[in-house]
Amino acid sequence: MTVFARAVGAIFLKDMRAEWRSRELIGVMLLFALLSVLVFSFALELDRLARREAISGVLWVTVVFASVLGLNRSVAQERENGNVDALLLAPIPRAAIFFGKFLANWLFTAVIGALLLPLMTVLYNVTLASLPVLGLLLAGTWGICVTGTLLASMTLQTRVGEALLPIALLPIALPLLLGTVRATTGILTDAPVNDWGGWVGILLGIDLFYTVVCMAFYGVVVEE
């Protein structure tokens, strides 16, 4: 195993174990997601057709805000006892620290999203629980978490702190969101692949760009 993979694995497993003990992130994220879905279902009293058009927006807005909660906590946990210093002092590449934290965040966010799919299928009577939608969920949350992990590492070092993450993250994530929402709606309305396939291409392209940029710049963000 390379140094990179071993360090990523160690950090990822450490986050899993810490989360298993405290259930701090998943608990907060899940509760928020449930409340959000319920609030939307009251707020948007939609007929059957309108529901199919609007539900992907509900899903994605919920997932993004839940991820903001999780990202802030996950990065704050590294700062509380100065643990991020210990990670930076270890003989591992900075990009490995970033990638390990990112993988854990991605898994948490994707799990929340995956739990929402069957739930919303029941609540809104729209078939969200399908493999194409799950695939979009994985691709969309990838980009959100990769930028979110980097930006949370930045914003938590500022005076404003946690409140700055949504402001910094949402506009950066919007191209991703636009793509995922349009593609999800396309799948739900049984539109031909030609109509929404382009969005999937855009989504994957942005994912790739963000991953490269964020891994390259993590070192710059944590140095002093």
């Binding site: 003990r21 100065g82 003989p91």
Partner: protein, 242 residues
């Protein structure tokens, strides 16, 4: 090779924005020396330690640790450095054992030895009985001991200690001091900041005092804390209780 200082800085300067913190610091620390670094809050002593450990980039000047340039070649010295800070650097949601096992993985210690080395490190700081308790349940002094075990796990020969006595009560300080003397006797090089002068004569062979970003004093410590406090007051213009 043995003649060459383990830690060497030349013309080391650091400014945060327009605010200079260090203004040309030259220090040589030979192998095996126990050095205490004193100075008022904001005198730059923590910054100096962070630069030597590679966490902060200097604005100007040269730093070498074990002959390697910091921060550009920091990856070559990370294994030789152990860092203890006033922050505990441990995860409260993990047990003492898990914290050290995580550190062992980061430092790529051989998996076959990890279990025994972790237990040995815990034993050395007197936490073996509590190996499987969460760090969250530990007192400040126990967390600090765990932090030291973490810093020693990969057997570094240089220890950087940033205010290790902060928040510790008398018995915990005594335990910490005993550990530090033991490390010194084992031939480790130690560089420690503190503003609790009473510990200095017991531990250090040499005292450096930073004032307004420059090295203002470099000598063996007075054996009496009161005399040291007078020296400190004379050099920095601030009084401190010994």
């Amino acid at each position: 090779m043995s003649e060459r200082p383990v830690i060497q800085t030349r013309g080391l300067s650091k400014a945060f924005g327009f605010l200079p913190v260090l203004r040309g610091v030259d220090v040589d620390i030979p192998r095996g020396q126990f050095v205490a670094l004193l100075g008022a809050n904001g005198s730059g002593k923590s910054t100096l330690l962070r630069i030597i450990s590679g966490l902060t980039k200097p604005t100007q000047g040269q730093v070498t640790v074990g002959g390697w340039h910091i921060p550009d070649e920091a990856q070559h010295v990370r294994r030789q450095l152990g860092v203890v800070s006033h922050k505990s650097l441990v995860y409260p949601q993990l047990t003492a054992y898990e914290n050290l096992r995580f550190a062992a993985r980061l430092y790529a210690l051989p998996a076959a030895e990890t279990h025994e080395r972790v237990l040995a490190a815990l034993e050395r700081v007197g936490l073996k009985r509590r190996a499987h308790q969460l760090a969250r349940t530990f007192s400040r002094g126990m967390q600090q001991r765990l932090s030291i075990a973490r810093a020693l796990l990969h057997k570094p020969h240089i220890l950087l200690l940033d205010e290790p006595h902060t928040g510790l009560d008398q018995p915990a300080c005594a335990t910490l001091n005993a550990l530090l003397r033991e490390m010194h006797a084992d031939g480790h090089t130690l560089l420690m900041t503190t503003h609790q002068l009473e510990h200095v004569p017991l531990l250090a062979q040499r005292v450096l005092i930073l004032a307004r970003g420059v090295l203002a004093h470099d000598a063996a410590p007075e054996s009496d804390p009161v005399a040291l406090a007078q020296t400190y007051a004379r050099v920095t213009g601030e009084s401190i209780h010994a």
